[in-house]
């Protein structure tokens, strides 16, 4: 019995395709903010639709495909068994990719449920729920058949991702369908907002943070050839993380029409969240600090190390922006967009890139086609994300100052139009930053495709023997 790895290859390939397409959509909407007429009057190319397409493709196409693929890869190896129900796993693959293709098309056609990061309409919500439950069956089925006593830490994070996202998605998507392409949320007013950001922030928490920490905890020790610095710390941080994150959502609703105490609770829980987040960062940094490998010639490890730095930034910046007296300034400014991208590009994309540079040569049974291209990718990615973050800091702080400026009569001094016009240079910088990041991702896609073209696929069998005490 060999490990089921073809499914991992399929998810990896699709993740790369979605990464490139999703980032292209992102660069296009960034360009629209500089040259607003390039939608050519076509509704399908309007900012509102393409921006939704961008987030759907990068989050659910790229991010989730990468997470499911790496979860299937690592759960077999940390459980010493072949994937449970491989046929069902292929169902997850086809269902998920079809949902992204049709869902993306529906967004361009103007279907929109009106909830951020949950824009897909009810038929897709049902499809997602079915595919997700099938994912859960395959994943937990594999864990149930494991030949190790302990459940390795990466599986705890992937497991939390599966359970919590199922809960969030199903509750937040509860709606009354009016037509095939339009539904209305079951919740009303402020309650709808609270449910939406309970979903929205925990999608960030359990998908973009928890899920990718699962990836980190398997692939970082593998690539660094070092055990986790403190396994106990990883477990403590996991439970603290799971307990704290679920409360943090209301910080998206500071100074809105939700109860004051709900806002304050969200703020305090966001601040506490720094502890488990940084415990994990320290664990990662200390694990890699003992790495004796040739880091300079190992692109995968470079990406993973840098992703930890941005993870540290994003998980610090988040709680800080959740403080109400900071939020009063930063809310609705580009600072928030910069924060999201320091996490999404700096942490999620970089750790996935590092993981794929590790994974694809193993799946293909051939060395990476070009380490040089991967190194160029590294610098393009670093330059892209740094420029993006700095441009948005500049834009956000300028917006904050200008919006809060009052004239002698105590009235707002600058009109919205004036402030938007002042943002143009930053938007141009952001467009360049996006192009840099996208070109790096394109190089990677070519590099991985060439690696795979020279494949001599080796199928690996689980180790023989019975229940052992510690994971491999």
């Amino acid at each position: 019995m060999k490990y089921a790895d073809r499914i991992v290859t399929a998810f990896t390939a699709c993740a790369m395709i979605w990464a490139v397409l999703g980032m292209m959509a992102g660069v296009y909407v960034a360009a629209e903010l500089v040259w607003p007429t390039i939608d050519f009057g076509q509704p399908a190319l309007s900012f509102g639709r393409l921006r939704t397409l961008h987030t759907t493709l990068v989050l659910f196409g790229f991010g989730v495909s990468a997470l499911i693929g790496t979860a299937f890869y690592s759960v077999q190896r940390t459980s010493h068994v072949r994937l449970f129900a491989p046929g069902l796993a292929w169902f997850v693959f086809y269902a998920w990719q079809l949902t992204i293709v049709l869902g993306g098309a529906s967004v361009m056609a103007g279907w929109n449920a009106g909830k951020e990061y949950a824009e897909l309409e009810w038929p897709f919500d049902i499809a997602i729920a079915i595919a997700w439950v099938a994912f859960a069956v395959v994943f937990f089925g594999t864990i149930g058949r494991r030949r190790m006593e302990a459940i390795y830490i990466s599986n705890w994070f992937y497991g939390a991702l599966i359970i919590v996202v199922a809960m969030l998605h199903i509750v937040n998507s509860l709606a009354l369908p009016a037509t095939i392409g339009k539904s209305y949320s079951l919740f009303a007013g402020a309650q709808d907002a609270i449910v939406q950001w309970w979903y929205g922030h925990n999608a960030v928490g359990f998908l973009l943070t928890g899920g990718f920490l699962g990836m980190l905890y398997y692939f970082l020790p593998k690539q660094a050839e070092q055990p986790i610095w403190s396994y106990r710390l990883s477990i403590v941080a996991f439970w603290a993380f799971v307990y704290t994150y679920i409360w943090a959502g209301p910080h998206h609703l500071h100074y809105h029409a939700v109860p004051e105490w709900v806002q304050s609770l969200g703020m305090v829980m966001s601040l506490i969240l720094l502890a488990p987040s940084w415990a994990t960062m320290v664990n990662g940094i200390m694990t890699v600090s003992a790495a004796s490998k040739k880091l300079r010639s190992d692109p995968a490890l470079k990406f993973i190390v840098l992703s930890l730095a941005f993870y540290g930034l994003a998980t610090f910046e988040g709680p800080m922006l959740a403080i109400k007296s900071v939020n009063v300034f930063s809310h609705f400014t580009e600072w928030t967009i910069g924060h999201v991208h320091s996490g999404a590009l700096g942490w999620n994309a970089l750790i996935t890139f590092g993981t794929f540079y590790f994974l694809v040569p193993r799946l293909a049974g051939a060395p990476l086609y070009s380490a040089k291209l991967a190194n160029i990718h590294f610098w393009l990615a670093l330059a892209g994300v740094m420029l993006y973050v700095l441009a948005m800091w500049g834009a956000g702080v300028s917006q904050g100052v200008l919006w809060l400026s009052l004239d002698q009569l105590g009235e707002v001094r600058f009109s919205f139009n004036d402030v938007m016009a002042a943002m143009k240079p930053y938007y141009a910088l952001r467009f360049i930053a996006g192009l840099l990041f996208l070109s790096g991702a394109l190089l990677m896609a070519v590099n991985l495709a060439r690696t795979f073209a020279g494949r001599r696929t080796v199928e690996v069998a689980p180790p023989a023997g019975h229940r052992a005490g510690a994971p491999a």
Binding site: I285, S289, F310, R413, M423, Y426
Partner: protein
Amino acid sequence: MPVRFSIASLSTVLFRPKAVFEALAAAEPSAAKVFFGFALWIGLLPAVFAYIGTVNFGWRLGVEPVFLPQRTVFAISVAYFLALLLGFLSSAVIARWMAVTYDASQSLGRCYALMAIVGAPLAVGSVIHLYPHVFINVLVLVPTLIWSMYLLYRGLPVVLQTGPNRGMLMASALIAYLLVAAVSLLGITVALWGSGLGPLIGN
């Protein structure tokens, strides 16, 4: 070539960093000398440039320039200088603290020297503060920042005497600290501003 680390050696630090790295590898500088002879003075540059620029041209955020009372500008410039000083000292101390993990030299003098070299291009680049147009400042300071990061990655293994692999890891860990320090400064500034401590724009 011995490096005396006085403000007179600024051009050597800027244009021949490799020579400085090698000199530092050979001889350990004293922390006090680096600080009082060099770091303190280059740290003054951005604050002075910002003061002159803001008084003469006002903050240019893309719309009409914002002029502030001279006393306010002075207070902000002093705060800017103190923040830079705190940033410099804390980075050096953090570098020394991290050195244990990465088998690097724990000499405080070396850590001071490294941070002074890394900060030098930014201090000189801050001449653009003389014209405080935010976007032009971003345009000039982003490439300067890249130069500083390059110096950090190249200089750290030599100055702190660790291997190239460990050096790269430690430099990345320091960048994480610097990013967090930068965003903290931003957060503290706007929080103080929000609570009424700071310039009253428009009044």
